[in-house]
């Protein structure tokens, strides 16, 4: 009886007693969800173009953020360092296409996945060799990102909105919109969708697979840089950031591996869901439910809707 009360009654009493905490929880979940969506977006871009699950997306986040911070530490102004980092990510994309992907065209997806695992180890080693393993502060103020806080008096309490979180939401939204327009309205975007639908057919109408892959990896690199800046500003830039990318797996299972709207909706469901579940029902499990909530949700989706909310249903005819 007490258990039923804890599940069905106590959380709602708490919401009624502390509505400001509930609003704060939703906001925190919304910001985390947008950031999860940003990581997931990097995976989606590459999966759409090549059918490869890019295991290296997490380390690309760390590598991009470390490059930015490392360049700035050499005395290069923040904005120039930012553009130089974008240049590094472009070179990385071209390099990956030339050295890793091109020799593996036509190989089984599992081999491409293994190649991205190899790439992860390479980037990890290269990052540690060049920048060292110590955590570094993100150059938040130097980049002009806001650091203040706005308090809203609400329901007899306070809801705090960190300006950095607001900036993260705005930047991520602009980024997602820009990518959506780029891939739906431009010639390259249409070519990408053609490649995603059928490699052979795309090649036969003169679309350069190599060029498309380099562009997509570059776009994923820029997404990784933005993700690294935002997560880095919330804590610091360290190799632990790579692990957060694992959350994107659950987001992708929810949203579908090929859908940009799916990445966003999946990110928000997991971001808000895990925060609300942790705060209001976490005590039933001794706390720490955030560690597994996303994966449990993903497991349920795998059972009932394996293609995700927006993914294409896989129909294989024999």
């Amino acid at each position: 009886m007490e258990l039923l009360h804890e599940i069905f009654v106590a959380p709602f009493i708490l919401i009624g007693e502390l509505p400001d905490l509930f609003v704060q929880t939703i906001w925190e979940g919304f910001v985390a969800g947008i950031l999860y969506a940003l990581i997931a977006l990097g995976f989606v871009l590459i999966f759409k173009a090549s059918g490869v699950f890019n295991f290296a997306q997490g380390i690309m986040v760390v590598f991009a953020a470390l490059t930015l911070v490392g360049l700035h530490s050499l005395g290069i102004p923040a904005w120039i360092a930012l553009f130089m980092t974008i240049g590094v990510m472009a070179l990385l994309a071209i390099g990956i296409e030339r050295v890793v992907l091109r020799p593996l065209v036509g190989q089984h997806d599992a081999i491409l996945l293994m190649a991205t695992i190899g790439l992860t180890l390479f980037l990890k080693g290269a990052g540690e060799f060049v920048f060292g393993g110590e955590p570094k502060p993100m150059i938040t103020t130097e980049l002009g990102l806001p650091t203040g806080v706005t308090d809203l008096e609400m329901f007899g309490g306070l809801v705090s909105l960190q300006h950095l979180d607001i900036a993260a939401v705005v930047i991520a939204t602009i980024m997602v919109a820009a990518l959506a327009i780029f891939f739906s309205k431009t010639r390259i975007g249409r070519a990408l969708r053609a490649v995603a639908d059928d490699h052979q057919a795309a090649l036969s109408v003169g679309i350069s697979l190599n060029q498309i892959w380099a562009i997509v990896w570059f776009a994923a690199g820029v997404v990784a840089l933005v993700t690294g800046i935002m997560w880095g500003a919330r804590s610091d830039v360290s190799f632990a950031l790579e692990i957060i990318a694992l959350k994107a797996l659950a987001v992708l299972i929810l949203g579908g591996f090929t859908s940009i709207p799916g990445a966003i909706v999946g990110g928000l469901i997991i971001g808000i869901g895990e925060k609300v579940f942790e705060v209001y029902w976490g005590g039933l499990f001794g706390g720490g439910v955030e560690a597994w909530f996303a994966y449990m949700l993903a497991l349920i989706f795998l059972l009932f809707r394996p293609q995700g909310l927006f993914g294409e249903k896989i129909i294989e005819r024999v």
Partner: protein
């Protein structure tokens, strides 16, 4: 014929060189360092490994080693991973290893049963299994200068002295791993005894930099004080999140692994007021550290940047090396041998006596409080002090706070008995 001579010549040279190397190896005191310079916890692992190696290398440069024998420090990368730590142990134990310093509770827990079998002691300096401080039950494990339970009791004493403990709610945020969970049994026992309530906020390893939920829960629970058992990237994130929800940072106390420069440098002024326990001095204004700087760091024989000498975790690693060096010296004096074994080293650790006079002789006067071990006491009874982040550096704010030994020691003995009770072949020792 010429070819045969050449082959024989090369073989003979190889044998001679190998022989020389073996001899050189035999003439060194071999101290493996299970370090981690890579991975999510490298921020703590790097300065610690540097301080550890630099002090022992300084002894080589300044004194020709210990008792006239040079020390060889060999690092093995564990990545703070228990499995890799055990692999490092297995790969190095046959080289004449004198002692293991795993810098990981997870690795320590794996090595504790191996230590008496291989007769190589484990020195888990201020980490690992708290109950291992009971020498009668754990002859080969040491937690000098003090253990987690004693530290927690010192922190609780600090809280008691700053507004009282009775009737207060203590929030405990911890890395959800063996290390972070270690003091929970003590909190369970002490809460009713000392009249406080505690609530836990576990942080999973992969969510170290994603603690929004935990701090929403802190806001919900409204604890009077927060205590943190964090490590690596978890620490900076927690302090930032605490500042974000406006938790008073002068009521937020990290343990000695959550109060380093590596933790607060990325936070900067936003972390002003945050407190942490510590047992090793901060800064380089000690003669021993000046020797390290002159003979090792400035001489280009270190991986440390000169401005990092004196940082909290650098000094912690250096202190670990001091304990190792003092125990080697004690073992040499006891046995009369220059080259000692792991078993001799164990005896040396039991003879460990770092008095204030000895600290001064070592050029470390005031660096830490006195620590003395014995057959029964493998913890050393060390005290902690509290330091506070002023926005750019750590400042010591209290005298040494002794642990509640009268309360903690019986609980340690109870925990030690429980640990060994289901291990039929476990060998303790008799202490007079």
């Amino acid at each position: 014929m010429r070819l045969k001579s050449l082959v024989l010549g090369v073989a003979a040279t190889a044998i001679a060189v190998t022989g020389t190397l073996v001899t050189a190896h035999a003439e060194e005191l071999y101290v493996p360092s299970l370090s981690y310079r890579t991975g999510p916890f490298a921020g703590g692992g790097i300065p610690f490994a540097n301080g550890f190696a630099d002090y022992l290398n300084m002894l080589n440069e300044r004194d020709g080693g210990i008792g006239g024998v040079k020390i060889k420090v060999e690092e093995c990368e564990t990545g703070y991973n228990a499995q890799k730590g055990v692999e490092c142990y297995e790969a190095t134990k046959g080289k004449g290893a004198l002692v293991y310093n795993p810098l990981s509770t997870g690795i320590t827990l794996q090595l504790i049963p191996k230590a008496p079998v291989d007769q190589i002691p484990v020195l888990s300096m201020g980490y690992g299994l708290s109950a291992a401080g009971v020498g009668k039950s754990f002859p080969y494990t040491f937690t000098y200068p003090t253990g987690y339970w004693s530290q927690m009791s010192s922190i609780l004493k600090y809280i008691d002295a700053n507004g009282g403990l009775k009737g207060k709610k203590i929030g405990f945020i911890y890395l959800d791993a063996g290390y972070g969970r270690e003091p929970i049994p003590l909190l369970d026992k002490l809460a009713p005894k000392l009249g406080f309530e505690w609530v836990g906020f576990p942080v999973a390893g992969k969510d170290m930099q994603n603690q929004g939920s935990q701090w929403l829960n802190v806001r919900k629970e409204r604890p009077d004080w927060m205590i943190m058992w964090g490590w690596g990237a978890m620490n900076a994130t927690a302090v930032k999140e605490a500042a974000k929800i406006r938790f008073p940072l002068d009521r937020f106390i990290g343990n000695w692994w959550a109060g380093a420069h590596a933790d607060l440098d990325p936070v900067g002024a936003a972390g002003k007021g945050y407190l942490a326990a510590n047992f090793s001095g901060v800064g380089a204004d000690y003669p021993a550290l000046q020797d390290v700087k002159k003979l090792v760091v400035d001489a280009g024989k270190s991986q440390t940047a000169p401005d990092k000498v004196g940082d909290v975790l650098y000094n912690r690693g250096l202190f670990n090396a001091v304990i190792v060096a003092e125990a080697i010296k004690a073992a040499q004096e006891k046995t009369g041998k220059k080259m000692i074994t792991g078993a001799d080293m164990r005896d040396g650790l039991e003879l460990f006596d770092l008095s204030e006079v000895r600290l001064k002789e070592l050029g470390l006067g005031g660096f830490t409080g006195p620590v003395k071990g014995s057959c029964a006491d493998h913890e050393g009874g060390g005290s902690v002090f509290i330091q506070q982040w002023d926005g750019s550096d750590w400042k010591r704010t209290t005298d040494l706070i002794a642990p509640m030994t009268d309360v903690v020691r019986p609980l340690l003995e109870e925990a030690a008995a429980k640990y060994t009770s289901d291990k039929p072949g476990w060998k303790g020792q008799e202490c007079g």
